[in-house]
């Protein structure tokens, strides 16, 4: 149990409060309420650290520490058993406590950086309010204790990404990039929602803990092998959209139209990391579940795991290659994010496969290497990608362009930005001892190890190691084009204000140091994986045990990364090789234009959008105008005719009757009133004649005695 567990709600509550405050009165606050947001994120960070310390202390590293912080019951379930209730609770375990700290820390730094970066922008209150809501969405996503709650916060993030990417909504590119981000991730979200609905139908619960308990019970019954394959694939569909994996990667490069700080937030701390987190949470469907009588291996969806790892491996190469030929500093980073996220999916997939196949072979030890490697890479990537983006933002702030061809030579003019960005570049390239090296090597090692169970993973390992080479090349191509040589742009760029550079310095320290987290905890898995203590890093193990194969693998990936750096230096640093070498022959030129045009996938999507979808829309429009409108119009005209008939009937028959009755009354009374002469004796005559007539009639009818009251 955690002390002061209710405080956990304040981790996401505090940015939410900041969102409301800045949204309402931000206009009257200095810097558009930036300090409110920074303060709220700092509060989140403090509380998150408080819980992480508790989790680490009480969990004694490696023990189960999952605590559910009760919130409220949203939809009450069965009154008797309480089954089927949907609640809003927080799940604080090693993984979520760690990610809460990570997210709030990076968001805090990015918010501080924004004070400098956004200083001259209009619409700052809008920016800061949306940033606060965005971070609240991410904090809610990583601390949700059930899939539905996760989806709610996930969609809050989707909304905020739309708003923030379209921050400069008056720019058509930004507006359309925002729409693209929203729509493309929506494709994944629909799959995610479908997966959630299937989960509900099978388990009647959204809670991770309950689902884990129910899987062995329902296996063979409601939980069939087909559903076991379907659920993780649906959930992965959501992750593909959010994390911009192939084929839903197209939105992320365009999302660069937003402010650079937003890009940093999306790429480092929030949004794209949510996809990895979701896949990590859906491990309950991927790996064997320990039951009372053993381990349930049959329920493992091997093909779903292969899909996850395969998409990861493919996207890593695919996105990495697109970064090779791009001239937009932010887009290079965007492609590298896609590529690095793909590494994480590869690591998760390989880890799940390894875990399952070892369990299938009777091993009782849980192999968590892939899982922890992927999340380790997530952590490291968060730091160095935030650093790279903020440094890129600092550069853009100075030169007012994204085009690297208009940069160059900035190393002398912006020493702090240049040096800190170099740290990030080294980490991204995976050069020892920067953080990226450890986690990337971890993932590759796990992938190689899994190859023993399924040779496909050897292929994925080759893809991963090829990506390592490309990553090193394009990262240093970017760094050299920006900071090396002569300045090719206009104006007089100067170093950014201290509020920005100090953030860069803090981040570069963490970029170097985050690799050491694994050493401190004797393997990163111990930090985020509960239930089973995890062995030390594969890197350390071979050093201690002198495992020649793994050492050779590590050496190979490091050598390829260095080769990539060297090639970039040769082309863009020393200029030994001219960049035009890459476009000399027709084949090379074709490859180059293919990369520049992003494999024409965006064009295909546009064509699909403008031809197929628009054609369908036109067909629907025609149907609507001619058929539906025709029916509606005919009905309308029928109504008019009926109305006219009714009107006619009303005027002629009903009004006619009423009018003629009154007319006749008037006419007859005009005739009758002349009988009223005013002559008293006329009236006397009438009275007398009347009495006489009555009497005569009575006598003739023989009823006179009765009138007189005689029998």
């Amino acid at each position: 149990m955690l002390e002061n567990a209710w405080l956990a709600w304040m981790i996401l509550g505090s940015p939410l409060i900041a969102f409301v405050v800045v949204g309402l009165v931000g206009r009257r606050l200095p810097e558009g309420g930036a300090h409110v947001v920074v303060g709220s994120l700092a509060a989140s960070l403090v509380i998150a650290v408080y819980f992480l310390v508790q989790v680490l202390q009480q969990g004694a590293i490696g023990n189960s520490t999952a605590t559910t912080v009760p919130g409220f019951t949203w939809i009450p379930g069965d009154p008797a058993t309480g089954e089927g209730a949907i609640g809003m609770n927080l799940l604080i375990d090693n993984l979520s406590a760690f990610l809460l700290v990570l997210v709030s820390f990076l968001s805090l730094l990015i918010a501080i950086f924004s004070i400098g970066y956004m200083h001259e922008e209009a619409g700052k209150p809008r920016y800061y309010a949306e940033i606060a809501l965005f971070v609240a969405g991410m904090l809610g996503t990583v601390s949700a204790d059930n899939f539905l709650q996760l989806l709610i916060f996930w969609e809050i993030m989707g909304l905020c990404s739309y708003l923030l990417i379209g921050f400069w909504y008056h720019k058509p590119e930004a507006a359309s990039a925002a729409k693209k981000a929203f729509l493309v991730t929506r494709v994944g979200d629909v799959l995610f929602l479908a997966g959630i609905l299937v989960i509900w139908n099978v388990f009647h619960s959204f809670r991770f803990e309950e689902i884990v308990q129910k899987i062995p019970v329902l296996w063979g019954g409601a939980y069939t092998p087909q559903l076991a394959l379907l659920i993780p694939l649906f959930l992965f569909g959501g992750a593909v959209g959010k994390s911009a994996q192939f084929p839903l990667h197209a939105w992320l490069p365009d999302a660069m139209e937003g402010p650079t700080t937003v890009s940093a937030l999306i790429h480092a701390a929030t949004m794209v990391k949510a996809g990895v987190y979701l896949t990590a949470r859906s491990f309950i469907f991927l790996v064997p579940i320990a039951t009372g009588g053993g381990i349930l291996v049959q329920a493992v969806p091997w093909n779903a795991i292969l899909v996850i790892a395969g998409i990861g491996a493919f996207t890593a190469v695919f996105a990495g290659s697109m970064a090779l030929a791009n001239y937009d500093i932010k887009r290079v980073l965007a492609f590298s994010t896609i590529s690095q996220l793909a590494y994480m999916f590869l690591g998760l997939g390989a880890g799940a496969y390894l875990m399952a196949s070892e369990a299938a072979h009777g091993s009782t030890e849980v192999a968590t290497a892939g899982y922890s490697a992927a999340l380790f890479h997530l952590t490291n990537h968060a730091f160095f990608k935030a650093l790279l983006f903020l440094a890129a933002g600092s550069v853009i702030h100075a030169v007012h362009t994204n085009d690297m061809r208009a940069m160059g030579g900035l190393g002398k003019l912006m020493p702090w930005t240049s040096k800190t960005m170099l740290m990030g570049a080294l980490a991204l390239s995976g050069i020892i001892p920067f953080s990226g090296f450890f986690s990337k090597d971890d993932i590759l090692a796990v992938t190689f190890e899994t190859g023993a169970s399924n040779p496909l993973f050897y292929l994925m390992w080759v893809a991963g190691i090829g990506t390592a080479f490309m990553t090193a090349f394009y990262t240093f191509r970017m760094w050299l084009m920006t900071f090396h040589g002569e300045f090719r742009g206009h104006g007089h760029p100067h170093e950014s204000p201290r509020v920005m550079t100090s953030v860069l310095i803090v981040l570069s320290v963490f970029t170097i140091a985050s690799g050491a987290i694994a050493f401190l905890t004797n393997g990163f898995g111990n930090l985020i994986f509960y239930e089973e203590p995890h062995a030390a890093l594969p890197l350390i193990t071979p050093l201690l045990e002198a495992n020649v194969v793994e050492l050779a693998l590590t050496g190979l990936s490091l050598a390829l990364a260095l080769a990539g750096v060297g090639l970039a230096w040769a082309v863009y640093g020393k200029r030994v090789i001219s960049p035009s070498t890459f476009t000399k022959t027709p084949t090379r030129a074709f490859l180059h234009s293919m990369l520049v045009n992003r494999y024409w996938i965006d064009d295909w999507y546009n064509a699909f959008g403008s031809r197929t979808v628009a054609g369908f829309a036109r067909a629907v429009d025609w149907f609507d105008r001619n058929v539906v409108d025709g029916i509606v119009n005919a009905l309308g005209r029928g109504g008019v005719v009926v109305g006219a008939l009714s009107d006619l009937f009303d005027r002629k028959v009903i009004d006619g009757a009423v009018n003629s009755i009154s007319l006749e009354t008037i006419r007859s009374s005009l005739a009758l009133r002349t009988r009223q002469t005013g002559q008293v004796q006329n009236y006397t005559w009438v009275i007398v004649l009347g009495i006489v007539a009555i009497l005569v009639l009575a006598v003739l009818l023989g009823i006179l005695p009765r009138i007189l009251g005689r029998p």
Partner: protein, 103 residues
């Protein structure tokens, strides 16, 4: 004793004379007098039946006759007052000249 038929015939004759006067004469005074005759015809009937119908000597008819005479006096007074007012406003007591009850 005079047979009751004679009295009734006299009463009927009086009634017819009065009725004729009311319906035909134009002078309001004469019409009023005719109304008195009509009343007297009715009073005569009361008196006749009082002495004739059993139990003989029942005074109810005679009491009625006296009451009716008294009321007739009042009625005549009111009628004359009305005619006086009519004469003052219209300058005539000819009934066919007075058309106040007209439409």
């Amino acid at each position: 004793m005079i047979p009751v038929e004679y009295e009734l015939i006299l009463s009927t004759a009086l009634f017819c004379i009065g009725l004729y006067g009311v319906m035909v004469r134009k002078n309001a005074i004469i019409v009023l007098m005719s109304i008195e005759i009509l009343l007297n015809a009715a009073i005569l009937n009361f008196v006749a039946f009082s002495s004739y119908a059993p139990p003989a000597g029942d005074p109810a008819g005679q009491v009625f006759a006296l009451l009716a005479i008294a009321i007739a006096a009042g009625e005549a007074a009111i009628g004359l007052a009305i005619f006086l007012a009519l004469y003052e406003t219209h300058g005539t007591t000819e009934l066919d000249k007075i058309r106040l009850l007209r439409w």
